[in-house]
Amino acid sequence: MSDTALPHDMPAVYEPSLFGTYSKKIGMWLFLISDSLTFGALLYAYSYGRISTPNWPTPFHSGSIINATVMTGFLLTSSLTMVLGVRASADGDKRMLRWWLLATMFCGTMFIILHGREWGKLIAEGLTLPVFPKLPGQEAASEFANVSKTVPQFASTFFGLTGMHMLHVTIGVIYLGVVALRRKFLPILLACWLAAWLLTPATSPFHYAAHALLAAFLVCSLILWLKPKVYDSADVEVAGLYWHFVDLVWMFIFPLVYLMSAKIL
């Protein structure tokens, strides 16, 4: 073992980055690659079920397709506002950066609301999972009362895949809220949790899923109070990478899950 010490007055020499960029960005790319494998596994599971099941249900009527198209429009627009935010940040325009991030959050929130409405409609029609709360009178009247029993892999892969994506969009909106507003975002997040918890009926899965916002509030509080910092353009760019990834995944979910299972008469 060498016991030779370097002199303290020696100037620090750093090797240039192997990948030509800063470590935060490389870290985010590594995370996104691993996350894409998670979504890849879910998409493959859905496709596997689709190929191996002859009577695969086609629950998406024209209304659902239009709803999903509007959701896609919101997500694509959010990617545009995000990239404009990254550009404003690189140019040092903090005012415009905040506006672009808020616009991105708005589009993301609209996506979540529309997706939640779609879920609610499908659950009301009888497409459900055993873990979801039972709706009164659901068994008798619903269009898909038997689908959940005869082809259970449809409901489980559909809710698993789209639920995972919705969770990622929610985390993305919170992430951008922290970057844009820092501690000012905490009361907003708390208000969102209360609104989501109190305004959704107890028969909705979102009534319970709303508590994820409370968990996010606690995590964000810890981060913002223990390690307060001014988020710079590198942080905004890294947050942007995450947001674009969420958009990218939807570009595969939308055609594979919605358009391939459309019931157009």
Binding site: L18, V83, A262
Partner: protein, 111 residues
Amino acid sequence: MEATQLVIQERVREQHQHHGKPQFFVVWGALLTMTAIEVYLAYQNLPAVRMLTILMGLSLVKAALIIGYFMHMKFEISRMKWTTMCVLVACLALMMIFFPDALRILTLSVK
């Protein structure tokens, strides 16, 4: 702000200098147009295999546009591009090993 943070900020500014805002609007327009084509195809009741081929082809083009322009990969150095994309494509391609099994189940099922 720390000195390291300032250096990185300057680097981000330099990296984003070579493309203008109109380029983002063009990419966004192309993505919306391709989405509109996909929805139009859904209303055409095409055979499933042909439909899947076209939809996945369009999705791959859309993914390439998002990764290349919005996620800035087009402007990274080639070592970064090749390392990340090759790893991703190889892992996703390996998962396709399950599909022949899905077809086997279909032929084995009760008629």
